[in-house]
């Protein structure tokens, strides 16, 4: 569960805007209760692309 969640969080963080497809994908790989918590955490947040301090 943890690894899947981390992958989804990383995916969401890479995108400026989340599409319906992103949410559908997240819902398909996460447990329903984890998906709900993810939705609460990311709801209304502006996501920034990987910070690029390279």
């Amino acid at each position: 569960m943890n690894q899947k969640l981390w992958e989804i969080v990383q995916l969401f963080k890479e995108k400026k805007e989340l599409s319906t497809e992103d949410w559908v994908y997240a819902e398909s790989v996460l447990e329903p209760e984890v998906f709900q918590l993810l939705a609460l955490q990311f709801d209304g947040k502006m996501n920034i692309v990987s910070p690029g301090w390279k």
């Binding site: 963080k13 918590l37 920034i48």
Partner: protein, 310 residues
């Protein structure tokens, strides 16, 4: 419930035979945030949590109200003692009162002894049995603290699995102690599972807060907490290990507030804080579900306990 536990603690200190300055300092420390005399009544306190857990697990005919309050007071003192000893280990100073390391050590040891006295003295079961439970969990917590001290982000870098293994010992042991102190009809593995989920959630919340606290040294000492483990993992994958390099620079340069802010902003943007926040809420929900499933007697204590862990 707080006033009753406060009364027992005051009374215990007054009759303890401890030096007046020790009693005064202990009460002063117990007025801090998250402690039983805190002005903020919304704070989680170990004393209240223990009382509600004892009440949920036991019948009033087998364990009296007075015993439960005295044991709750014992847990409150025990957690203060371990906090003081942790502060010495972590070089933290989030106390309102400036205390020397030697004072923290002495006070921590004294309060540990007073806590044990309260926990063993008022028990229906054999004091030896009671002590065996306390000893087992405190030893586990001590082992966890030892491993935690030696786990850093330096080579070899800590892993998520190691983090959970250690907090199972160092944090969940205290909760297991509370859940096992009084005999209950609920199966022990269920109680252990509830304790584990609450312990995971609480430790994750603490570790998230400590990354952003100027009073804690987690970041400066590269303490291998999950937010940092995951942020470093992200950094190694996407940014050529920028974060670890910056953390290592902290030791060779003067730390400026701006530099720390940059590091904290970076950690936030890696997704590590989001990840840990979701996990903390997930484990809280797991604990709540088990509590509601196994204690479906509409006990008022369930509501109080859930309110405290939420």
């Amino acid at each position: 419930m707080r006033p009753t536990i406060q009364f027992i603690i005051k009374n215990t200190l007054l009759t303890s035979g401890l030096e007046y300055d020790i009693q005064k300092l202990t009460l002063q420390l117990l007025h801090q945030s998250g402690k039983i005399f805190s002005q903020n009544t919304d704070d989680f306190t170990w004393g209240e949590f223990s009382y509600y857990a004892f009440s949920l697990l036991t019948d009033i005919n087998t364990v009296s109200h007075t015993t439960k309050v005295k044991h709750a007071a014992g847990i409150e003192l025990l957690m203060l003692a371990t906090d003081l000893l942790d502060d010495v280990v972590d070089h933290d100073n989030h106390l309102d009162t400036a205390l020397a390391k030697s004072q923290l050590l002495m006070l921590g040891n004294l309060l540990l002894v007073e806590a044990l006295h309260l926990l063993i003295q008022h028990t229906a079961t054999s004091a030896i049995d009671q002590f065996a439970i306390i000893h087992r969990h405190l030893r586990n917590a001590g082992n966890g603290q030892w491993l935690d001290f030696h786990l850093t982000m330096e080579h070899p870098a800590a892993t998520e699995e190691q983090y959970f293994h250690i907090i199972q010992q160092k944090s969940c042991s205290f909760l297991q102690l509370i859940f096992e102190l009084h005999r209950s009809t609920i199966p022990l593995p269920v109680l252990q599972e509830i304790a584990t989920y609450i312990g995971y959630a609480a430790q994750l919340q603490n570790d998230i807060q400590d990354i952003f606290s100027d009073h804690k040294n987690d970041l400066l000492s590269q303490k291998a907490t999950l937010p940092l483990i995951k942020a470093v993992q992200h950094s190694n994958t996407y940014d050529h290990g920028w974060l670890l390099t910056q953390l290592q620079l902290i030791h060779s340069h003067d730390i400026t507030a701006k530099h720390l802010t940059t590091i904290r902003d970076y950690i936030r943007q890696t997704g590590a804080i989001d990840y840990c926040s979701i996990l903390a809420k997930y484990y809280t929900q797991k604990a709540k579900s088990l509590l509601q499933h196994y204690f479906n007697d509409k006990s008022p204590y369930i509501k109080q306990l859930i309110h405290l862990i939420d």
